[in-house]
């Protein structure tokens, strides 16, 4: 049983810790929690009914009687309730988001599975979700594997050339995503070096990577692996420096091949790091946006982030409620994706604590 003096000694660091954390907690509340709360609130509202009036409108190309928003009447509504009309979850369930009614109809109809999937992919949210998930699921593991392979390769190089090799390997991370995707986009142009080479290899002068949906997806996924591998490389390369030399040496003495050493010593040692990399990369990849714009791939691939951009920035009329709903759905998606990794990390942590 601890004495009072011991309890006090423990209590003080707690208080110090709280004071120490206070600034960052305040900053997080201010810059992360409050904005997210405001987006949640925004997503529950739709705009006031517009009071319309028919008025004579004249310009350089003639006159016509056209509908106009009655500014004064609408401003009065706006002043009374600045947030707009409360709409509950309708922004989430409407046709441009989760489309519950449409999905129910599609799943209920008598049709083949292929037909049903095609109908689902015709809804903007599910079309975006399909590409976003594919991008996450393909790019995350492949980029991690490539990053790991590069880390092993660089680690085996003589000290003299390691520096330049590391620099070259992290180049894709240094390049701004939009610039990187634009460079690749131009190289894939039929007149660009990659596009022309591919046409020559396939002996098909009409082949274009931008024209078909499948090839566009493959291009985007390849770009994703290229752009994300360096992050895995950096983390894994740092991890490789901590692999215990004794264990490796004893494995060598036991006659383990290079592959066996990697399989039984290096990979188990780096496993916690891999969980961390997977966590960060899943989050990152779920928010894929720049390559879609950079590759002008909107016809064949859209993502959740692109939907938000389209509602807010590309249009003449900004749709805050719709963009807010998509934002919250994106956050929800990230959380769902991360749950397995988080649960695993939590279990590992508890196991270690129990030991």
């Amino acid at each position: 049983m601890p004495t009072h003096a011991e309890e006090d000694a423990r209590a003080v660091p707690h208080r110090t810790f709280a004071w120490f954390m206070l600034p960052s907690i305040l900053a997080m509340v201010l810059f992360i929690t409050l904005p997210v709360v405001s987006v949640v609130v925004q997503s529950l509202f739709v705009e006031h009914e517009r009071v319309m009036a028919l008025v004579e409108t004249c310009g350089p190309f003639g006159c016509s009687r056209e509908a106009r928003v009655d500014t004064a009447a609408t401003a009065a509504l706006q002043a009374a309730r600045p947030l707009g009309r409360f709409a509950g979850l309708s922004n989430y369930t409407d046709r441009n988001h989760l489309a519950l009614a449409e999905v129910g109809r599609i799943l209920g109809q008598e049709a083949t599975l292929g037909r049903k999937l095609a109908d689902l992919a015709n809804l903007p949210f599910y079309r975006a979700l399909a590409f976003t998930l594919t991008y996450c699921m393909v790019v995350t593991p492949l980029a991690m594997m490539l990053g790991f392979a590069v880390a092993l390769g660089v680690n085996a190089l003589p000290k003299l050339v390691r520096g330049p090799a590391i620099f070259l390997s992290i180049l894709p991370m240094i390049i701004t995503p939009l610039v990187g995707s634009l460079i690749l986009f131009w190289m894939f142009d039929p007149n660009g070096i990659l596009g022309a080479t591919i046409q020559w290899l396939a002996a098909d002068p009409r082949l274009s990577l931008r024209a078909s949906a499948t090839l566009t997806w493959i291009t985007l996924l390849t770009y994703g692996v290229w752009a994300h591998a360096p992050f895995s490389f950096v983390v894994f390369y740092a991890g490789l420096q901590t692999v215990p030399g004794d264990t490796l040496e004893s494995a060598m003495i036991d006659g383990a091949s290079r592959w066996e050493r990697i399989r039984h010593v290096v990979i188990p040692h780096l496993a916690p790091l891999a969980a961390f990399v997977a966590l960060v990369q899943l989050m990152d990849n779920f928010r894929v946006f720049e390559p879609i714009v950079g590759f002008s791939a909107e016809a064949n691939a859209t993502s959740l982030s692109w939907l938000i951009f389209n509602d807010l920035v590309s249009s003449d009329t900004q749709q805050f409620g719709a963009a807010g709903a998509t934002s919250i759905l994106t956050i929800a998606g990230v959380i769902v994706l991360l749950i397995p990794v988080l649960v695993r990390t939590w279990r590992d942590f508890n196991r270690k604590a129990a030991r």
């Binding site: 004579e56 056209e66 249009s315 003449d316």
Partner: protein, 410 residues
């Protein structure tokens, strides 16, 4: 009389020197927010000549102007005193009541303005237009001569010419248009649909009315055109079109009038292509009688949340920016709507659209929502993955949802 007046103004400008002009403004702050292209930069630069010890003139020319203008004009005092706008970008400012009526200012300081330049809504002047724009045909005369065809005036003739050019082995992909999913694709649909003479909405309401024979005709025509376009057509926006035109890869394309000057600019354009480039009105569609292209105007509006002194200074600086003397010195830069403008070659296409009776891009408050719905929902159709009926149904579903959330539909 008008010519005498322009000559007098020209004399005044020359006397005052190029860098600084006496615009008669006692004091005030002029802060311009505008799009960023050559013609608008000319106007901004001329307005900046009004700067003096008591008058400041600043301009922020950015392609992001549409996204900035709402918040920037909502605060008081507004961040900008002048918003340079077009048919579509004026509408959100009007709906939110962020720009002021200009009747008094136009009466007092708008001596050089023509009545047709005044954008009047319900009897009040809300903006002043200074240039026109729109999409029209760019045609390679030499290629058409080789197949013995005249400049096409309808989409049927465009398609026939394309087939002839391909059959003659001159070009595999003779056509081009800005059909990249997004704003460009939607604008192309709007162009053709206006050409059918039909209306987008049921009169006086926000109920969408494009799911009809005209809507299907427009999509079928757009689909037929893509058969003669480079396989990468889904990635071509308007800027990209000028590049492939300059490379001599295309014989007929539908392109912005504001980019016509660049296509024939002796300093930058491919001389061989430029020499054979002809500008003509947008083609008619489906037996219609007018060019199938939206007419656009660019102009300026003055913010509501600023002092009357700044508003007057802003109006007078902009009036100086579009003074006949400025326009006369830059007649090749745009299709100016200003007194005394003599259209150059680059303005021929837009002028032909106007003369042919083309319709303006609708200034309806819900038009932006339709444009957005078109920009995403026509993607599958133009990529050849969906039929016209499904595409129109998708547009309606997307528009209805957005219009309900925006308060236009119950």
């Amino acid at each position: 009389m008008l010519m005498v007046k322009s000559a007098l103004v020209l004399g005044a400008v020359l006397a005052a020197g190029a860098a600084q002009a006496d615009c008669g403004i006692a004091a005030g702050s002029v802060r311009i927010l505008s799009n960023d292209f050559k013609a608008i930069n000319i106007v901004n630069a001329a307005a900046a000549e009004c700067a003096s010890a008591t008058v400041t003139v600043t301009a922020n020319a950015t392609t992001e102007h549409k996204n900035i203008q709402g918040p920037a004009l909502s605060v008081s005092p507004a961040e900008y005193t002048v918003a340079v706008i077009a048919n579509n970008s004026l509408v959100p400012l009007l709906s939110a009541g962020l720009v002021r009526p200009l009747d008094d200012l136009a009466r007092e300081f708008g001596g050089d303005l023509q009545p047709s330049q005044l954008i009047t809504i319900d009897g009040q002047v809300m903006a002043v237009a200074f240039m026109g724009n729109g999409q029209h045909l760019f045609v390679r005369k030499d290629v058409l001569d080789k197949v013995g065809l005249a400049v096409p005036t309808s989409y049927e003739e465009v398609l026939a010419a394309a087939a002839a050019i391909r059959a003659a082995g001159i070009m595999e992909y003779p056509l081009a248009a800005a059909v990249k999913p997004g704003w460009d694709l939607a604008a192309e649909f709007v162009n053709l649909y206006l050409g059918t003479g039909a209306d987008f909405f049921e009169p006086g309401t926000a109920k969408l009315a494009i799911d009809n024979d005209q809507g299907r005709l427009v999509l079928d025509t757009m689909g037929a055109m893509t058969g003669f376009m480079h396989p990468d057509y889904l990635t071509y926006n308007a800027k990209e079109l000028n590049k492939i035109w300059d490379a001599g890869q295309v014989a007929i394309m539908n392109q912005w009038g504001s980019l016509a000057g660049a296509a024939i600019d002796p300093a930058t354009a491919n001389a061989e292509v430029a020499a054979n480039t002809v500008f003509a009105a947008a083609p008619k569609v489906g037996g219609g009688s007018i060019p199938a292209a939206a007419l656009w105007w660019d102009g300026f509006a003055i913010a509501r949340n600023i002092s009357d002194e700044d508003a007057a200074a802003s109006f007078r600086a902009m009036a100086h920016g579009i003074a006949p003397a400025v326009i006369a010195a830059n007649s090749d830069a745009a299709t100016w709507l200003v007194t005394g403008f003599v259209p150059g070659r680059a303005a021929e296409g837009v002028m032909a659209n106007v003369a042919g009776g083309a319709r303006p891009y609708p200034m309806l408050p819900q038009m932006g929502l339709l444009h957005t719905a078109l920009s995403t929902e026509l993607a599958d159709f133009i990529a050849g993955k969906e039929d016209a009926a499904q595409a129109l149904a998708d547009v309606k579903a997307a528009y209805d949802t957005a219009a309900q959330a925006a308060g236009y539909l119950k």
